[in-house]
Symmetry: C2
Subunit: 409 residues, 2 copies
């Protein structure tokens, strides 16, 4: 088999960690497989570089930040290649450029536009294990661009696709995807299998296991992803376009505490109002998720929506200026909210799932402020102080926890 | 003027150091000059990476070491570019590859084969200050190669030459070239002017101010070098093909404590013996400097020579095998030696300079074990415990110290 294995920063945080990962790669190679390794930067290397940059410039140029941050992954790839060679496995490091990864010009959050895997193929053909620096590529003008946090997942999946690999294994410090974050819900159980769409909803709802763009890419190219732990031999979770035979209505729950709710009160109930507000936010790259418009009252209206908490600073002046243009009454910003979501492709065409979510929260005396749904997801905005409890109630409602026997085991 | 400014690692060891250097560049730009900045890695960054590599592999591959170590200079260049931009100076970082530096395939000690300064010229043309990562380039197959320790000097001078710069300024933590190492000889005085040949002899005799290859390169292309301190406004030393009007016989003295003396005793006095020994050493890249052959005695001979102390481990088995082939008596390895040298183009055609060196050492009761000379240099191998004292005696013999008035000043 041709296998792409990606190892995250927590799996590479010290010399001993690197040696451990190299032995895992050696083991796979010695089983007769061809392996392409993709690595992140060591531990908190990226944060240390960011901190240094912030000491030097209040607004560091995005191009220079990418040139700087990309060095972390380049270091990891060289260190991993020399460790493999030390173990007797011929290996060679590749920067994103050397691996043929061409990206868009959006420094800091570039998209992979093309992968030319010629050099990787040449290495594999002569028995060399390529070790690719994740998270990076080059623009068509030869400047280094990074793919955004978690972008090494995308590197791995894009390479797996370009090489026609049999599978892409994503190693991190968690043993796959769980029915809920195990740090919050101790009874959360690992999922053996997920569809791309379920994984996409989970990733976008705040589950940190896999990068959203990476899952989208894998879905498009139908690359099966194996999400596993570096530190155990558990099978982990397979993400693929599997047939859902008798799926439960909800597969997993997710929590995002890093959102904010914005409310524009007393704006005119006229055409073009929403277009103005959300057009301006989109123009500045601010992602809006749930939107609620109250029922019109005296030709005035209230509009509320959620954004990522980190975008509040940038969004505030934009929304204020809209409010002024529209002659609205006031702006309310609430950062004490959280979003809980229930996800499952089994809810397709099965009515009553949303009602069970709402009932579970009501029984816990938790007030729902906003509701958003997709075909396979139900999200509720609630008070942040209720967040963990709400997650547990929904997890329990759909019996996602380990069964008593499993825990005994 | 078009000026290339190179800043060494000790000038860039912290955020504050980087800011200080950025201000110096800003000052030069604001005087109306065009500047190309060349930077080394921050402080002891390179040593930290080497240490990590040694934990992972006993003999790290040279290609991977270069891929790893080059990241230090890439980081510096990005950090410097963003700091300049923060000061309002448009700037852009360039890796060796982006600066068009093509090297030989000798990883770890590559030579610059070609510089294509097109991208640097494009940047300068639109008022952007390029910041080039020193010490690195790429081979014709696109692999990163480093130029060896101190290689950033070479980067700066090669770029100055390719751009037809008016001068190349090399900034470090010393204010130019001195008549002797001021840490050993406190009365050592800075030299205002040196010829390329004098600088070459000084550099190869252990003076750490400028990299030998860089000086060779500058000599070939006649680029004037200004060696200065980052931390003072002293004029420093100019290295150029100046006319030597009434030069003193000795310009400066140098000391190298990192050498070893090897002696092969009782080898046959026959043709081909020296060729065998020094041919084998050369084949393994070990540089031999002084060679002494004793007067033949009973058709047997003794051969002694010096090498860098760091090469002893590699040289020992090679020399032992030669000794065995030749049926010689024994091998003596002496690492308690040092080399003092007096350098000056003023000694050309002026007899008696060597005699003054020998007399100065004799007066100090210092035994000379070996002697080596070039047209502008006299070197003596002596006991290492006499090294500093010998340097002082020669320095004094030729009145190189600051005059009493100067010290009073």
């Amino acid at each position: 088999m041709l296998i792409v294995q990606k190892y995250g920063g927590s799996s590479l945080q010290s010399a001993d960690h690197i040696k451990n990962v190299a032995k895992k790669v050696q083991h796979t190679v010695e089983q007769g497989h061809q392996v392409v390794v993709v690595v992140s930067a060591m531990g908190d290397n990226t944060d240390a570089l960011l901190e240094l940059a912030e000491k030097l410039a209040t607004m560091p140029s995005a191009r220079e930040l990418d040139q700087l941050l990309s060095t972390g992954e380049t270091q990891s790839s060289a260190l991993m290649a020399m460790t493999l060679e030390h173990l007797g496995i011929p290996a060679k490091s590749f920067s994103g450029r050397q691996a043929g990864i061409i990206t868009s010009y959006d420094y800091g959050k570039a998209r992979i536009e093309q992968v030319d895997p010629k050099e990787l193929r040449n290495a594999l053909a002569v028995g060399i294990t390529p070790v690719v620096a994740g998270f990076q590529g080059v623009t068509r003008s030869g400047d280094v661009a990074t793919l955004g946090r978690g972008g090494s997942d995308l590197t791995a999946i894009a390479i797996a696709n370009a090489l026609g690999a049999d599978r892409c294994e994503i190693y991190s410090d968690v043993a796959g995807v769980y029915t809920a974050d195990p740090r919050i819900i101790p009874s959360a159980s690992p999922l053996g299998m997920l569809s791309y769409d379920e994984m996409l909803e989970l990733a976008s709802q705040g589950a940190q296991v896999l990068q959203t763009q990476a899952v989208e890419f894998a879905k498009g190219q139908q690359v099966p992803i194996y999400a596993r732990s570096t530190f155990s031999d558990e099978p982990g979770t397979v993400i693929a376009e599997g047939e859902s035979i008798e799926k439960p209505p909800v597969t997993a729950v997710a929590l995002n505490r890093h959102i904010a709710k914005l409310g524009l009160l007393g704006v005119p109930d006229a055409p073009g109002v929403a277009a103005l507000i959300f057009g301006e936010l989109a123009k500045h790259g601010i992602n809006v998720e749930l939107i609620i418009q109250a029922v019109s009252h005296n030709q005035l209206n209230d509009i509320a929506f959620t954004i990522e908490e980190q975008d509040v600073k940038r969004a505030e002046p934009i929304v204020k200026s809209c409010l002024q243009q529209l002659g609205g009454h006031s702006l309310v910003i609430d950062t004490h909210v959280a979003k809980v979501s229930a996800i499952g492709s089994g809810m397709l065409g099965r009515p009553g799932v949303a009602a069970r979510v709402f009932k579970a929260l009501a029984n816990g005396n938790i007030n729902i402020q906003m509701i958003g749904t997709s075909e396979i997801k139900i999200s509720c905005i609630i008070d942040r102080s209720d967040a963990e409890r709400a997650l547990g109630l929904i997890h329990e409602e759909f019996n996602l926890g380990k069964s008593a026997e499993m825990i005994e085991d």
